[in-house]
């Protein structure tokens, strides 16, 4: 070998040190091999998704969303969004912002090639579409465990830990707004936890737009613990909260707000507009609607 004792000990200790360092790693081998995806890869995928845009929905007129028709519904809060199709130009910044805010994973190459992404917002035609948080949600009534349910505030909520992956909700959504975690994104190195407050979902659960529930929760908590609570006896109305997509839209085409609050930008900007929804959802009392043209 030609190695003397000293060099041998040096190389052994070097190997041992490398082994220890390697063993101390917090990142799994697979992720290390795959590499944690960076923002650039997410941007690439959003561009790919836009190029795979599905057909535009058949839109029909809907009435303005009002009080929720479920027992125990809040009489002051019903959160929703309106997307102004006149302003939207299909740039896709909302999709990227949503993915970053909610730690939405990438998908493997074969799925991307077939146009199946995990994005909570999909492009239909040149308009973004996400879960409409229907008041009479078909997904919630067929979920066997109750993981898909409705909050009194009008959000179609998802409990990841209660999901058993039966995918009945996904089958019953008339517009396929729900996504299923076919893969363990963490293990395959397809996920990046941009937002530390949001968990990465396990393999086998369904997910969809949550109307940035976490932002609403944080705002509610701040409101409840603020010093003015006892003094003003007001209720929390979610004023000032914006979802990630509405925040990121350069044209302000996505408006988030409270349908039951007259001061909410949602109510004010939809005052004189005609509201539309996809034909399949028109009878299901959607909270997320489209706007086009003037009254």
């Amino acid at each position: 070998m030609g190695m003397d004792r000293r060099e041998f000990i040096k190389s052994c200790s070097l190997v041992a040190m490398m082994g220890l360092l390697f063993g101390c790693r917090k990142v799994s081998l697979d992720a290390l091999a795959a590499g944690e995806p960076g923002l650039a890869q997410f941007e690439e995928e959003v561009k790919l998704a836009i190029s795979h845009a599905k057909r535009q929905f058949d839109l029909v007129k809907v009435a303005r969303p009002g009080l929720l028709e479920i027992p125990g519904a809040s009489s002051v809060n019903r959160f929703g969004m309106a997307i102004d199709l006149d302003l939207c130009d299909g740039c896709g910044k909302c999709i990227l912002a949503c993915n970053v805010e909610n730690n939405v994973p990438l998908v493997p190459a074969e799925d991307a090639a077939r146009g199946r992404f995990m994005h909570w917002i999909d492009m239909h035609g040149s308009a973004p579409f996400m879960c409409a948080h229907c008041g009479k949600a078909p997904c919630e009534r067929v979920c066997p465990t109750g993981a898909a349910n409705h909050t009194p505030d009008g959000l179609s909520a998802m409990m990841y830990k209660r999901c058993t992956g039966s995918r009945f909700c996904g089958a019953n959504c008339p517009v396929q707004a729900r996504k299923f975690n076919f893969n363990d994104a963490r293990k395959l190195g397809l996920a990046h936890q941009f937002n530390k407050n949001i968990p990465l979902r396990d393999k086998g659960v369904m997910e969809k737009c949550s109307l940035c529930l976490h932002r609403l929760q944080d705002d509610r908590l701040k409101f409840k613990t603020s010093l003015t609570v006892g003094a003003t006896a007001e209720e929390w109305r979610g004023r000032g909260v914006k979802t990630a997509c509405s925040e990121s839209c350069p044209k302000n085409a996505i408006i988030f707000g409270n349908w039951l609050d007259d001061e909410s930008p949602l109510v004010q900007r939809t005052k004189n507009r005609v509201l539309y929804a996809p034909r399949e959802l028109a009878n299901l009392d959607p909270s997320v609607v489209f706007m086009r043209g003037r009254r």
Binding site: K136, P138, R141, V142, N283, L284
Partner: protein, 151 residues
């Protein structure tokens, strides 16, 4: 489906019921007749309500309801086991109405509870019949047609 066509449907079912369970008929003949009647009722529904077929899901099980009515009416000509098959035919009608209604409820339509209750009441009441005279038979047929037309 207009009320006129609805009434015509039950007349059609009555007309078809005459051919079933004739004396000496083989099970093949009866089976073929059943399949043929189902086809006839399907064609009737398809052409009779063509414009509303896509929009009115309540029509989806219309041919099957017609078939159930036809089976109920056909028990009048049975020589054997009339009470047993009478009850069974009405239970079939009840089945189609009840579970069809539940399926439609999930698609946003109200369940026709009065119709289901009427058919259930008739089926339950028929189990108490001790002897089906001609008058009783006629009365039953009238009741079935009434439930079809009015509920």
């Amino acid at each position: 489906m207009t009320p006129l066509l609805n009434a015509f449907a039950c007349l059609l079912a009555l007309a078809c019921a005459l051919f079933l369970w004739r004396k000496g008929s083989s099970p093949y003949r009866n089976g073929a007749l059943l399949a043929g009647f189902l086809l006839l009722f399907s064609v009737f529904t398809y052409f009779g309500a063509a414009e509303s077929l896509a929009t009115d899901p309540a029509l989806e099980h219309y041919p099957f309801r017609m078939l159930a009515l036809c089976l109920c009416l056909s028990t009048a000509s049975l020589p054997l086991y009339r009470r047993r098959y009478l009850v069974l035919a009405q239970v079939l009608w009840l089945w189609i109405e009840l579970f069809g209604g539940i399926a439609l409820y999930y698609r946003g339509f109200d369940v026709a509870w009065t119709r289901i209750a009427a058919v259930a009441g008739l089926a339950f009441g028929s189990t108490f019949l001790s002897r089906i005279s001609r008058e009783m038979e006629f009365c039953l047929m009238v009741l079935w047609l009434a439930v079809w037309v009015f509920f």
